[in-house]
Symmetry: C2
Subunit: 365 residues, 2 copies
């Protein structure tokens, strides 16, 4: 059991969450502000390891649903968080014993911590992805049959909706439609489950990982010539089935953005720092989905792509990219839970409209 006790912990964690957001997932900035305020008021989130949670505990995810562009300007309201908690407990008919993040990448790393700190509910060190993904059915919970609904969602004006469906893909569509009518930002409770189910399905220790990634980047800046190197050393952990590679070192020569069907589509074109004919294109669909070097796939979803500022190793979300930036493209293998046959049915390249199968980073790069 540990607490996040200092503003530096929160800053490290937010940076790590952006890294694991693989370009998407929304900016954790407003959640960071909320947590800082809680620290000032003497409250900090209590983080527990999955195994510390009783089998019969009642666990839910708290998450924001909405457009990242709205999220970043939409402060988190204490009143709304507490209202959601009260409504969720009434809706499920029981007290919530622990919270867990549905996606550790980006903004949704912060909402459980924010409510956990404010209401004194433990937050489990783990999540349902180990990264960010745009759909409710793309979590290890959903893959293991723990449905996203019944869900209750609210906005800051007191509007409330609930959805109950056995189909998480349909739940995604229903929630997205509701969210769009409610100003593109709502908070909801998802994946209600027992402690036992959580222990079987959660991706473990990912809050710790955000902290460590953030800390590693910060400390590397002070000690290394190349702060990316320190991070690569931390990330590469073949014993745990995790591989990391610097896939490209270059400058951005073009970025296209399009908002269509509620998604952020685009592509980033890069040119090597040393060879003008060596090029990479990173494809965006909310997150970075695939990177092709001179036409050849270097990494593909669910494996993870992060784009870092090449000098500071600051992780950059898709909205931050622009012509002329010098960056390094990092490939990081997905958590093993997302590389199983069962998981690839919902998060393989084909689920994102690409006509190809998943190949692991370590065999491609």
């Amino acid at each position: 059991m540990k607490h996040i006790k200092t503003p530096q912990d929160i800053a490290d964690m937010a940076r790590g969450a952006v890294f694991l957001g693989t370009g998407g997932g929304g900016d954790p900035y407003v959640g960071e502000l909320f947590l800082l305020q809680q620290l000032e008021e003497g409250r900090s989130p209590m983080i527990v390891t999955a195994d510390d949670v009783a089998d019969d505990a009642f666990v839910v995810s708290i998450a924001g649903v909405g457009a990242p562009t709205v999220l970043v300007e939409h402060l988190v309201s204490e009143r709304t968080l507490l209202d959601l908690l009260a409504r969720a407990e009434a809706f499920y008919g029981r007290k919530i014993d622990a919270l867990i993040s549905a996606e550790i990448g980006g903004a949704n790393s912060m909402f459980p911590l924010a409510l956990g700190a404010r209401a004194g509910i433990p937050v489990i060190d783990g999540d349902g992805m180990g990264r960010a993904f745009p759909h409710l059915e793309m979590t290890t919970f959903s893959i293991d049959g723990i449905t996203a609904t019944p869900t209750v969602m609210i906005d800051d004006l007191g509007n409330v909706a609930t959805v109950t469906t056995p189909n998480d893909r349909l739940a995604e569509d229903m929630l997205r439609a509701l969210c769009n009518t409610l100003g593109a930002m709502v908070l909801g409770s998802f994946y209600s489950m027992s402690g036992k189910q959580m222990k079987q399905s959660a991706v473990r220790d990912t809050i710790t990982q955000t902290l460590e990634i953030g800390r590693c980047i910060r400390e590397s800046r002070e000690t290394c010539e190349d702060p990316v190197s320190g991070l690569m050393t931390y990330l590469n952990d073949p014993k745990r089935g995790r591989y990391a590679r610097v896939l490209f070192d270059g400058k951005i020569t073009d970025v296209t953005h399009e908002t269509r069907d509620g998604w952020h589509w685009g592509a980033v074109s890069l040119q090597s720092m040393t060879d003008a004919n060596d090029k990479m294109v990173v494809e965006i669909q909310n997150e970075y989905l695939a990177a092709r070097r001179n036409g050849k796939t270097a990494i593909i979803v669910p494996d993870m792509i992060s784009i870092l500022d090449r000098e500071t190793a600051e992780p950059l979300t898709a909205e931050m990219l622009h012509y002329g930036l010098r960056v390094k493209v990092i490939g990081y293998s997905a958590v093993p839970e997302l590389r199983t046959e069962k998981a690839l049915k919902v998060c393989s390249p084909r689920q994102f409209g690409m006509n190809e199968d998943f190949l692991p980073l370590e065999s491609l790069a």
Copy 2:
């Protein structure tokens, strides 16, 4: 207290509901089929007058939400109706004592009768409009502060959603969005209210009116040279503040249809049978909203326009109109409840995007 006892009663009522649907409201045909089946099984809906309902009774509206084009091909399922009843009673936490139609025009005249017949719940002789309108906030209930939500809605596959908001215009947007993700057809419970509230706000005796309109058209066909005349005699009732006029007698020279923003938009052009220079245009936005004769407004919403086959007096919905049809355009004053200052704030021409104020039929025609 009366029953609808024969297939002829149901046919009369459905025809009357199409007349009051003013071109929109959806085809009551599938509801008619369901009621016929109930009659065959020995069940008929029990119709009660508003005053027969106790002040502390719990009254709700049952309505279909969806695209009329889907509705007409979507049979009403007994299982879904009973499932909705069970879920609504659980959601509101009390037994439903009586049902009332939210809109008597079109398909939503039938759903409360269908469930009422099947489950043995009385159906109140009245509704919230005396016609059809496309939005939840355009009912006498909503106008009097009885909100459409909390609502529970379900589809035939067991997907369930609830919405709670103080704003009926927002409720409309949320439900429309949900409905679109659920195959454009759901059933829901709306406007939960006490018997006392219902008696203050309901438009009275409109089930009886559908029956009488249908019967009048049917009987007129057998006895009158012009079946429209018999209907006009029935409708004109200045003592009750109701006026009816034949506004135009002609043939359709053009019809335009467009489905945009979830609405059915269009216009019907007519030419007089006797004078080729005498023309009328009827504007459609789901319902017939306004008729202009040679550029001059002859009737405008919330007053009611029906287009009848000029030989048989069969009421025609907007989808049925086509080039060459000989028709009579009927103007009928709205129920007095919709002509008040308070009501016009939600159902005046300006609420439908027209840059003009309401003028009553009897001063225009």
